[in-house]
């Protein structure tokens, strides 16, 4: 049927007299005109990210968590340190939304106050580790040869020490239980993984054709790095940060749990869970809320990381 139509239309075409046609000239560049607005890397990534509903939900959960962590203690109307002996171990009620602990402190205020410490450690830890790791990996891959060899050997030695043992050892040695020391302990070897990642990516980029082309065209090394190397590496660094944050939060929770982490009056989700675990049999809700927050944060960052990886690095997409 459609074939028949084509034939008839073709004959119709032949019927048009030649004088009806006219040469209008050719435009050599018409093929190069960009008809649509240019979509940059970030706009493109955001477009891909939006498609991923799960990652979007994770992002919303994280924004809500962040909002509550900032404003939660104020909303509760209680001070997180304020004890009330007339209201100890109370179940969640309209007065104390998450209940109270064994000293009568409002858990709603405490959970969000603890979240400040946990999230701060997670985010700052991951960012510091990434910056250090990226610079280290970048230097190693840029110089190559013996410098690269030595630098990577150091990383190998550091990576061959069990992570938690280093953290514990630093906490014992410094013996100060401030958040700063804990951050140092957590990031001391935390940057090694990212250093390896960045070095690998940079080495791979160095052998790409477009970098070769840039070199051949006489582009300065600085410009090549700024224009090609960094933009092509930033994606994997962001993804690595997202995946690292829950790791740091978990390590902090673990340290606080065995008594090496945040000390009273400060608190964190790990410390809250540790305190609640002592009388979990009688007051399970005291363990429930901090655990829920840890689980929600870990879950959201993991799912967000999955989404970001797909959005920022389309090559990895299956």
């Amino acid at each position: 049927m459609s074939e028949e139509k084509k034939v008839t239309s073709a004959t119709e075409w032949e019927d048009i007299p030649a004088e009806k046609f006219q040469i209008i000239g050719t435009d050599d560049f018409s093929g190069d005109i960009i008809a649509r607005p240019k979509v940059g890397y970030w706009a493109d990534a955001w477009r891909r990210f939006k498609e991923n509903k799960i990652a979007l939900i994770a992002l919303i959960i994280l924004i809500v968590l962040l909002f509550m962590v900032i404003f939660g203690p104020a909303i509760s109307g209680y001070n997180f340190e304020q004890m009330d002996t007339s209201a100890i171990n109370q179940l969640p009620s309209s007065e104390h939304w998450f209940g109270t602990d064994s000293l009568g402190r409002d858990l709603f205020a405490r959970v969000w106050q603890a979240g400040r410490v946990s999230l701060a450690i997670g985010i700052v830890g991951a960012v510091v580790a990434s910056v250090v790791g990226s610079i280290y990996g970048g230097i190693a891959s840029y110089f190559g040869g013996i410098v690269d060899d030595i630098m990577m050997r150091i990383v190998e030695v550091l990576l061959s020490i069990p992570y938690l043992i280093i953290v514990i050892l630093i906490s014992v040695v410094t013996d100060s239980k401030s958040i700063g020391t804990m951050m140092l302990a957590l990031t001391l070897t935390g940057w090694c993984g990212i250093a390896r990642l960045v070095r690998g990516q940079m080495l791979q980029l160095k052998s790409q054709e477009y970098v070769l082309a840039a070199n051949a065209l006489g582009v300065s090394p600085f410009k090549t790095i700024m224009r090609h190397m960094i933009p092509n590496t930033i994606g994997i660094i962001i993804v690595a940060i997202t995946f690292d944050i829950p790791g740091y939060i978990f390590s902090e929770a673990f340290l606080s749990y065995i008594g090496l982490g945040v000390q009273p009056p400060d608190t964190s989700w790990g410390a809250l869970a540790s305190a609640a675990q002592q009388n979990f049999m009688f007051y399970p809700y005291q363990l429930f809320f901090p655990s829920l927050m840890i689980a929600l944060t870990m879950l959201s960052f993991t799912l967000l990381g999955d989404g970001l990886r797909d959005a920022l690095d389309p090559k990895l997409r299956k």
């Binding site: 050997r153 190998e156 030695v157 061959s160 020490i161 069990p162 938690l164 043992i165 514990i168 050892l169 014992v172 040695v173 013996d175 978990f250 929770a253 673990f254 749990y257 065995i258 008594g259 090496l260 869970a273 540790s274 675990q277 979990f280 049999m281 399970p284 363990l287 655990s291 840890i294 689980a295 929600l296 870990m298 879950l299 993991t302 299956k318």
Partner: protein, 307 residues
Amino acid sequence: MIKYVLKRIGYMLITLFIIATATFFMMHSIPGDPLGAMANKLPEQAKANYYAKYGLDKSLTEQYTIFMKNLITKGDLGESLKYPGKSITDTLLTNSKVSGVTGGLALFFGVVIGVTLGIVAALNKNKWPDYLVMFIAILGITIPVFVMASLLQYLFTVKWMILPTTGWGKPKNLVLPVIAMCFGTIATYARYLKSNMLEVMGQDYILTAEAKGVSRFHIIKDHVLKNAFLPCITILGGQISGIFTGSFVIEKMFGIPGLGFYYVSSINDRDYTMIIGTTIFAAALFVVAQLLIDIVYTLLDPRIRVK
């Protein structure tokens, strides 16, 4: 191959030496008396005797030489400061057996169940078994291990009263800690194996095998599983050494007298010689396990065989 292994062993020894040295000097740089609170209570002479017994009266370099000499020639890590007469090497060996049993069982069940779930999920992609497995995997990754352990203790001990919370020696003492420990392993392997399998199933050689008329069972068994399981060996390395160091939290919560339990208590006691010993022991296990895994990996995967 032999050259590669020798080179790796060489690096391993250097690494261990650095770790031992660093740990030793770090622990000795802590301000305050190594005897801790005990130092104030003891009379001068008893204190001096203590110092002489542990060699604390000697200079730091001399202490280091003695420590290293004992460690290298006899494998002797010294004596516990807190419990005089308790040899650290012996303690470590006994405790690591305890941790090995618990951790080994947990790892075994974790890998077997995790791999099975991963295969089920990959073969039923985007159907209900897949969603169920991924739901379990996400729970396993996000629920902190101490919460899981508390929950198990609550359900099995308080509610149903069928299993003891803490203790060691009877098989029923093992059930809860093994379940709590293997939950995370199940989640890791299920997720990892599923994504590996899906990746392999998209490869051209699977299409070729299908085109040649190979049965689905043989494709999965001979091509997909073999290639999908290889990268899992890398994670296995870290976990094997983790068996012996034990899960600190789990051992503490269930009162299992393993390495992790003693490590945490030696930290709380500030038992310096014990901390040094355990750190070195754990690092050694970790490094050896990594080496073994790398060797196994090169043997199994012809693509990365050393040139």
